[in-house]
């Protein structure tokens, strides 16, 4: 009798495995790890301008009544080059995009914008990554959608791929 039962244990384990996995596949796929910042106000900060021709960025600018996108980037970051066309496309749709340049120099940022396009309105210079970390961001590039009250509504980690432009635009619409 005992042997009889033991024989079925592997099948039982396997059924549990399939059930768990099927549930995970079926459950809404949120493969991007969500930020702890979502639903929270942006940290208080005031950053100097990172490039000539742009104003600096402060937390007050992000709570001015209109939702905005904040892109964390750097001129030395290669994936940021890859996502530049996507940011231009978003800006082309009339979405206001501000930026935080991480550990960068004004002339490098200016070069970067001249070469790869300039979708940004304000650009703050975060020389020691402090504001970046307060945003709960650990790498470049990252993109946040902040609503008109200065509350983070969406975080995208990594470069924005062409097929993800609509996702970001939808998150922006949702934050209105």
């Amino acid at each position: 009798m005992k042997r009889r039962l033991i024989i079925w244990i592997p099948l039982a384990v396997f059924v549990i495995f399939v059930a768990t996995v099927a549930f995970s596949l079926y459950a809404p796929a949120e493969r991007v790890i969500r930020s702890r910042m979502i639903g929270k106000p942006v940290p208080a900060f005031a950053l100097e301008a990172a490039a000539p021709g742009h104003q600096g960025l402060t937390s007050a600018d992000l709570a001015a009544g209109q939702p905005r996108i904040v892109n964390v980037f750097a001129s030395w970051c290669v994936p940021c080059i890859a996502e530049a066309p996507q940011l231009l496309a978003l800006a082309g749709q009339g979405i206001p995009i501000d930026a935080i340049a991480i550990r960068d120099r004004p002339e490098d940022v200016a070069d970067f914008l001249a070469k790869w396009g300039d979708p940004y309105q304000r650009i703050g210079s975060d020389r020691d990554s402090r504001v970046q970390m307060a945003f709960g961001s650990s790498g470049v590039p990252e993109t946040f959608v902040v609503d008109g009250q200065g509350v983070v509504r969406y975080q995208h980690i990594g470069d924005i791929r062409p097929e993800q432009v609509s996702e970001i635009a939808a998150a922006y619409e949702a934050a209105k």
Binding site: R3, R4, I7, W8, P10, L11, F14, V15, F17, V18, T20, V21, A22, F23, S24, L25, A27, A29, R31, I33, W76, V78, P79, I81, A82, R103, R105
Partner: protein
């Protein structure tokens, strides 16, 4: 045109696998005897056609035919030749085609060369192999067609993930697949034997060489993969407990257990049900691994294209095959007669201990890999399980396993005395004790796992050659040498792991050219950073001059590469191999002050890890040759 030819070949191969299954099924019935002879040629023809399909895909890639969607999204005309070739399997569709190709080749090999298995069991085995193939053909043809056309064709392709643009990739996946998928033979043998209720010593003797062959490829594949991750990822680690690595380790653990239990079954006709179970589990682990990797359900450094639809498809296949085999096992194994019995202190006893410990490690790795999924399903929380869990849970069990491995081959079959075994292992134990004493004197303060690791490696190394002691070396069969070499390989590998984790020295500096740093016994001068250009990348290359004591200085050039298609950075570590270890250097980022991050490691005896891995595979090869030769002689008689 080539793409269409490939697709046609794939369809015909799928049809042939359906025929193989149907003919096999009918042949097993009393009135279908006439069909018995047709199954073998069909299995061979199927392999030939899927081979043609695979060749077509290779050709399409080599010609960079961008009207084929797969080529456009994974290749680039500027890519060096060898990576166009390797790009064939560096993506989802291509790797699944490789998967069925290997599956069909394995089936054809059995059809051509297997002579020991009773004919009915052989037919049932080939039918089972065809059934597996059929599902994966369906998956390819309906959900991942590698030959799909793009209209209009793009001007340029997307390029291959730069991490994969490495000579290692040309060989790593095919090797691993031959093991991973080759182990399907064991699965089909088990299913075949359950269908004909013919599980016994003959079945085990027939199955053993096939298991060995797949296991050799698996061992080589894992060893090569570990070395690839070590030098290509530039993190200085050789194993990350990443889900994809675990996916290859789990079938290896099951196959290793199977290899040992099948020996008990072949020699003593014991462990019948258990051996059949392991044969099912080994390939099930391969399929579960494929599923975990291909569905993208677990996040991993090896992230491939993620598509939940495909995940469901593979999950359904999994449920059919594994669920079906386990069901068959439950229904039939009760009718398989109990095998022979034995005393706990005996060769069989040691092999059972080996099996239990290997299964425990397998369980630990499986739980650690799947735990994040389970937690997410229950609480919705995301988490990942890392090296602290795996090392502390699996480490002690693995050490116990090595201890059993040292003693087991010195015990006699059927029944032995504990005292007798102890006396045979006395010398290795003494050597291990001396090693312990030496370490405590000269390297005090070692952590317990690395300390035990080194001591056990020394003891097990000595014990593994003990079976040759006082034997006529000329008359010792080749498979005994195989065992000795493989076990010695385990000891060597363990020594490398323990030494790496105990004695590695690491230095992290932000330096400007002209400065020096030291790591372990080396003085390293940072000379310069220069931009250089490759075929499809540009890089910053550092020039470092390393010198050990008053020895001759030598130059190392680690690079940080920027690939243009797709835009990605990789670091190319510069590694200097010496007899007693490796100097490993990585160039990181620069800051505004013009300082560069340099990561320097001195890893004593780290190369033993891969040397050991290769020895394990070599031992397997010796065993395989020995077994096949003896088998031929028996058949001839």
């Amino acid at each position: 045109m080539i793409a269409e030819l490939g697709l046609a070949a794939l369809w015909i191969a799928a049809t042939l696998s359906l025929m193989q299954l149907a003919f096999g099924g009918f042949a097993l019935r009393a009135d279908g005897e006439a069909l018995l002879r047709t199954v073998r040629p069909v299995a061979v023809a199927q392999a030939v056609l899927v081979g043609i399909a695979f060749l077509c895909l290779i050709l399409v890639f080599l010609r960079t035919d961008l009207s084929v969607a797969l080529v456009a999204s994974n290749s680039h005309s500027a890519k060096p030749f060898v990576y166009k070739f390797a790009g064939v399997w560096g993506n989802h569709e291509g790797s699944m085609l490789l998967w069925v190709t290997v599956l069909a080749i394995a089936g054809a090999a059995v059809a051509l060369f297997e002579r020991k298995l009773p004919q009915r069991t052989l037919i049932a085995t080939l039918a089972a192999q065809a059934a597996i193939g059929l599902g994966f053909y369906a998956f390819l043809l309906f959900a991942s067609n590698p030959f799909e056309r793009l209209s209009p064709a793009p001007v340029q392709g997307n390029g291959l993930n730069p991490l994969l643009q490495d000579p290692g990739l040309a060989f790593h996946p095919p090797t691993l697949y031959f093991g991973y998928v080759g182990i399907s033979i064991a699965f089909s043998f088990a299913v075949g034997a359950l269908i004909t209720r013919d599980v016994g010593a003959n079945f085990a003797r027939a199955m053993r060489p096939w298991v060995l062959a797949a296991w050799i490829f698996l061992t080589l594949g894992i060893t090569a993969g570990s070395y690839w991750a070590y030098y290509e990822l530039g993190w200085g680690g050789w194993w990350f407990w990443d889900p994809v690595e675990n996916a290859s380790l789990m079938p290896w653990l099951a196959a290793t257990a199977l290899l040992h239990s099948v020996t008990v079954l072949a020699t003593r006709d014991a462990l019948r049900a258990w051996t059949v179970m392991l044969a099912v589990v080994a390939f099930s682990m391969s399929m579960v691994g494929t599923f975990l990797v291909r569905s993208g359900i677990l996040t991993s450094v090896h992230s491939f294209a993620v598509d939940p639809q495909r995940g469901f498809f593979i999950l359904i296949l999994l449920s059919l095959y594994i669920g079906g085999a386990l069901m068959l096992f439950g229904l039939r194994v009760g009718t398989v007669r109990e095998g022979a019995t034995f005393e706990p202190v005996s060769r069989e006893g040691a092999l059972v201990a080996n099996n239990l410990l290997l299964s425990t490690i397998l369980g630990i790795v499986l739980v650690g890999t799947l735990y994040p999924l389970g937690v997410e399903a229950v609480t919705g929380e995301k988490l990942s399980v890392g090296p602290p869990y795996f090392n502390s849970a699996a480490g002690p069990v693995a050490l116990a396993l090595v201890a059993v491995m040292a003693a087991g081959p010195l015990a006699r079959w059927r029944k032995d005395k504990a005292k007798a075994v102890l006396s045979r292992i006395a010398v290795p134990v003494l050597i291990a004790a001396l090693a312990l004493l030496g370490l405590m004197l000269f390297a005090p303060g070692l952590r317990i796992l690395p300390l035990l690791g080194i001591v056990l490696a020394v003891g097990a190394g000595a014990a593994s050659v003990a079976p040759l002691w006082k034997r006529n070396l000329r008359r010792t069969p080749l498979f005994t040498y195989g065992m000795v070499v493989a076990h010695l390989g385990i000891a060597v590998c363990l020594a490398g792991m323990a030494s790496e984790s105990a004695f590695t020295k690491e230095t992290l500096v932000a330096a400007t050219p002209g400065q020096t740093a030291s790591v372990g016994p080396y003085q390293i001068r940072f000379d310069a950073v220069d931009p250089i250009a490759g075929p499809n990348w540009t890089a910053n290359e550092a020039t470092l001059t390393a010198r050990r004591g008053s020895g001759a200085p030598f130059v190392m050039r680690p690079q940080s590469r920027m690939f243009s298609a797709p835009p990605t950075e990789t670091s190319e570590a510069a590694i200097a191999t010496r007899l007693d270890g490796q100097l490993y250097t990585v160039l990181g980022k620069s800051d505004e002050q013009g300082r560069w991050q340099l990561r320097l490691w001195w890893k004593p005896f780290v190369t033993l890890i891969w040397l050991g891995g290769s020895m394990i595979a070599l031992g397997g090869l010796l065993s395989l040759i020995g077994r096949v030769r003896r088998g031929r002689r028996e058949v001839a008689e």
